[in-house]
Subunit: 578 residues, 2 copies
């Protein structure tokens, strides 16, 4: 096993860090209580399950995780994926549904730990930044829309956009007015707290830290106020959906009986949940660690998250991961070590033990408003524009991800994004950039003739291939060379500058041999220059030099000097023309 | 539509070429008659269908194909794939089975033509040389083993190795002795004709050309002798399976009724048959064209092959493609244009019209022997060793292909080979080669410090990344830089030599920006040198330079001269130490 960072941070732990961690923990707990109830609702689970999923996993992560500031617990996207995975198998609210959620959490934990021990953290690299960004924005929109039913007080099923939109429009006439008023006013209040309250408090003389904390308490304030109103006016008799009686206390940690058929059915979903959860964790973990010059270890993260999910299942919860927004809050509130998570967990446990009766009259519309406001802050449409400017393939991968998440579903979106990125990568390699090069006067440097003012030899054609020479592009390269040959008569030598050929595979080797043979039949010598060490080693193993009609030069300048000393200006003599 | 090469070669056609083509056509026809009957049998079809598939497709290819010497018609691997695709749907020998084969041919033709018009010939590049080589060797072995039942005279079903081997062992005790004698002696005869007869004939004074033609007639000789023997001794009453009555004449060209359900079922198989057929055609076409300085156009080949398959279906045949061995024979026999194919087709049509009664007593064991001897010549075990020496990833892709073809089946093998090659390619990009570089004394050239005797600066770290900077490797590269920084104290500048960075995607850009920021916080300037034109264009579009703490240099030598003139030896002064 990897060495958990616990040993490092625990050694240097002191009262000052404890105090920092405790402050951060209080702020995160204030955020987490409504969020955990809301995300459990999003996952189709009883609200208390959200609390359960916010206790043991935080202990487990503190023991085995590698990030100092990651806040683990239920998050929106994983909750929606959980609902999408279990809904076809069991009825929401049934014991089977909860059992499946627990099993999903255990499976996901086992997969994450397995990947961690197999050091497969690199798998997260399959997701490019634009795909992740598009995925987050699109799933945030999907999640927000999925919560409209609670704001409107109408029954809507489905976990994909088309179904949700269809059901919403069908049931729109059944909208419950008191629910709508509570829901919309909560949303307005929460948006205002986020954007308007904090600067105003600071203007009125409050310190930034205190103002920030007050702003973070927005959801809790909404919960308190709305619960009071609903309970006082008995609005639940007017059709306002409320959370209802939450059992007091904590579940006895236990393992469910293993249902192999169910486990097999849940496996693909568990795998995708693991990958998405891991990527979310790694993204936020990297970002936060970089800000304090700390580092996270992806493989250790897999183990930490795996343990958190196993602990969640063990403690009656559902799949968890490191969330974006709570981790940022935890970081900014000054958390120094995972101990902040442990303190949060203890406070959540206290809540589950003693405070649940307070949530009985909490309207679901307020929880939905919490979810909507939380996820919409993750939508980043500006990123789409920036990616469009920088890289079209990245843009299309991003757009595919967004379109598939919104058109089909979250899981298909993540797979689609990966597949499209890889296809564009393969297409890039398959159509390599290729340049005829000449000498930049007064230097030993050679560049593209169509971009730079360079000196070219008549009899020696110098070319540069800007790609690995691989099965995907071997034939294309060979065709390009043949076309060049038909355009350049009277050649005596062809020099291939290889400094950008990072790899040659067996298909590439055959192409080089075939080019060599063809040039030989035309009495043109074939030379290579600046072949990379690892590539040269490989060519030497099959005796490539023996059949090569020309030579292999260390530098391209040396090649040109040797082949045609007359045509190369001295690297040290400044040419007047340059 | 692309311009069919027909217009070019037809213009320059003359009597000399006609005579060459006619000679080649006779030799190919002598090979093709037994092969077409045998491959029809391999596909589970009546023998005459093999003849039908050797008539119209050759006309169609002559009109639209781009290779001068490709011999189109039934080939072993496509025949086995046809059997594997149709067997689960219909009973061999039934009209439904034949109908499905015809539909498969039409579908495959439509797919090939569609890919041709979409200029998707590059798809063939997905198959690396080692995968193709492994695929051919393994399917040759599979095909040979599938024919053992005819040699032994026992009933064996199945188109995958495990099923065939299991059935062979179960039924081994039912072996028919006369059949076995005919089969084994035919095989010995055919192997001897291939390897022993030709040199002997030449030794006895025959010219090489005539000796070659006689050797090519081996299968026809086996057919004549065995048919005579079986008919004379009435061995079919002793349990020797014979071809039986073949209807005389040609089918009236017609289109089958389109069964959409069946078409949908056959579509995946049709796609794979198209790809394999195309790859086989392109491989042999490239090889032969290169020998005569001709070229084939992959997209035109798709159209030519597509037309051939549509013609095959139209004329009552099954999927066809350009075969390895017959094309080589056609080439070596001196064929100059696709007219050789037309002449072959006319001779096969004559055979179907007038000679079929001669095949009634032809033992199936002889056809099986023809198949076995033909395909075993395609097994190339030496290629495995060569690939092992040159490239381990290629070796594993090849081995996977072989193992999957032999363990699961032909279609899975081709898919498995592609998937494994792509995974290795992604893995290669994900773990980029990375070098600290220094100046080769007396030159302006910079190379890996661990491979070359170079000069290094104390304060300036120069590194070279040998890979595109992409989502797959961005984090890995960043980690590598961070590790280097922790090992090199007192740095003032870091120069990244970019000549091997062939592409930067949006994730790579974020990594560069993050490295720049980190270096900035440590008071180290970040410079780039020798950035490729297309990459620089892209960086400029997002104003990358604006935030870069250092500069972007045209050449690495210029960068080092500018940053620390003292430490760089003059490129023109020969250093004593080098």
């Amino acid at each position: 096993m990897l060495r958990p960072p616990l040993f490092q941070w625990a050694k240097a732990y002191n009262r000052s860090k404890l105090s920092d961690d405790a402050v951060a923990a209080v702020i995160v707990t204030i955020m987490l209580i409504p969020q955990s109830l809301a995300y459990a609702m999003l996952a189709g689970l009883p609200p208390e399950v959200g609390l359960y999923a916010s206790i043991l996993p935080l202990f487990a992560y503190a023991l085995l995780g590698s990030s100092m500031t990651l806040a683990v617990g239920p998050v929106a996207v994983i909750s929606l994926m959980t609902a999408a995975a279990i809904s076809p198998i069991a009825t929401p609210g049934s014991p089977e549904y909860l059992g499946a959620a627990i099993l999903l959490s255990l499976l996901s934990g086992a997969i994450l730990m397995g990947l961690g021990f197999a050091r497969a953290g690199f798998l997260a690299n399959l997701l490019s930044h634009p795909v992740i960004s598009g995925f987050i924005s699109a799933s945030a929109i999907l999640i927000a829309v999925s919560q409209f039913k609670h704001i409107l007080g109408i029954p809507v099923y489905g976990h994909d956009m088309p179904t949700i939109l269809l059901n919403l429009t069908t049931h729109l006439n059944e909208t419950n007015l008191p629910t709508l008023i509570i829901g919309v006013s909560s949303m307005i209040f929460l948006f205002w707290v986020r954007s308007g309250l904090e600067p105003r408090l600071i203007k009125f003389g409050m310190t930034a830290a205190v103002a920030g904390t007050v702003a973070k308490a927005g959801p809790v304030m909404a919960v308190i106020v709305s619960t009071t109103i609903v309970s006082f006016f008995a609005l639940h008799h007017a059709g306002v959906s409320i959370v209802g009686v939450i059992p007091n206390g904590l579940p006895v940690p236990s393992l469910p009986e293993l249902d192999l058929t169910l486990a097999t059915e849940l496996l693909p979903a568990a795998f995708l949940i693991s990958i998405v959860g891991f990527v979310e964790t790694v993204s936020v973990g990297h970002t936060l660690a970089a800000r304090r010059r700390e580092r996270i270890q992806p493989n250790q993260e897999l183990i930490g998250l795996g343990a958190a999910n196993i602990a969640s299942g063990f403690g009656g919860g559902f799949p968890v991961t490191g969330g974006f927004s709570r981790s940022v809050v935890n970081f900014e509130a000054g958390a120094k070590t995972p101990c902040a998570g442990v303190i949060t967990a203890i406070m959540i446990a206290m809540t589950a033990l003693f405070l649940t009766p307070l949530f009985e009259y909490l309207p679901k519309a307020v929880l939905a408003a919490t979810v909507i406001v939380a996820v919409l802050s993750l939508v980043d449409l500006k990123a789409i524009h920036r990616v469009w400017i920088f890289s079209k393939p990245d843009f299309w991968a991003m757009l595919t991800t967004i379109a598939v998440v919104l058109g089909i579903g979250i899981e298909a979106g993540i797979v689609g994004g990966i597949v499209v990125s890889i296809c564009f990568l393969l297409a890039k390699i398959a159509r390599p950039h290729f340049a005829v090069i000449g000498q930049i006067p007064g230097t030993q440097h050679f560049r593209n003739v169509s971009r730079h003012n360079v000196l070219k030899s008549e009899k020696i054609l110098a070319i540069r291939l800007d790609e690995m020479l691989y099965f995907l592009n071997g034939h294309t390269f060979e065709d390009a060379i043949n076309e060049l040959l038909s355009k350049n008569e009277h050649l005596t030598d062809l020099v291939l500058l290889c400094h950008a050929i990072n790899e040659i595979d067996a298909s590439g080797l055959e192409v080089l041999e075939s080019i060599n043979e063809r040039l030989h039949s035309q009495n043109i010598k074939f030379h290579l220059s600046e072949v990379k060490g690892p590539v040269m080693d490989r060519l030497n193993r099959v005796g490539f030099k023996a059949n090569l009609t020309g030579q292999i030069f260390l530098s391209h300048y040396e090649a040109m000097c040797t082949l045609d000393p007359a045509c190369v200006t001295d690297g040290n003599t400044q040419s007047a023309g340059a």
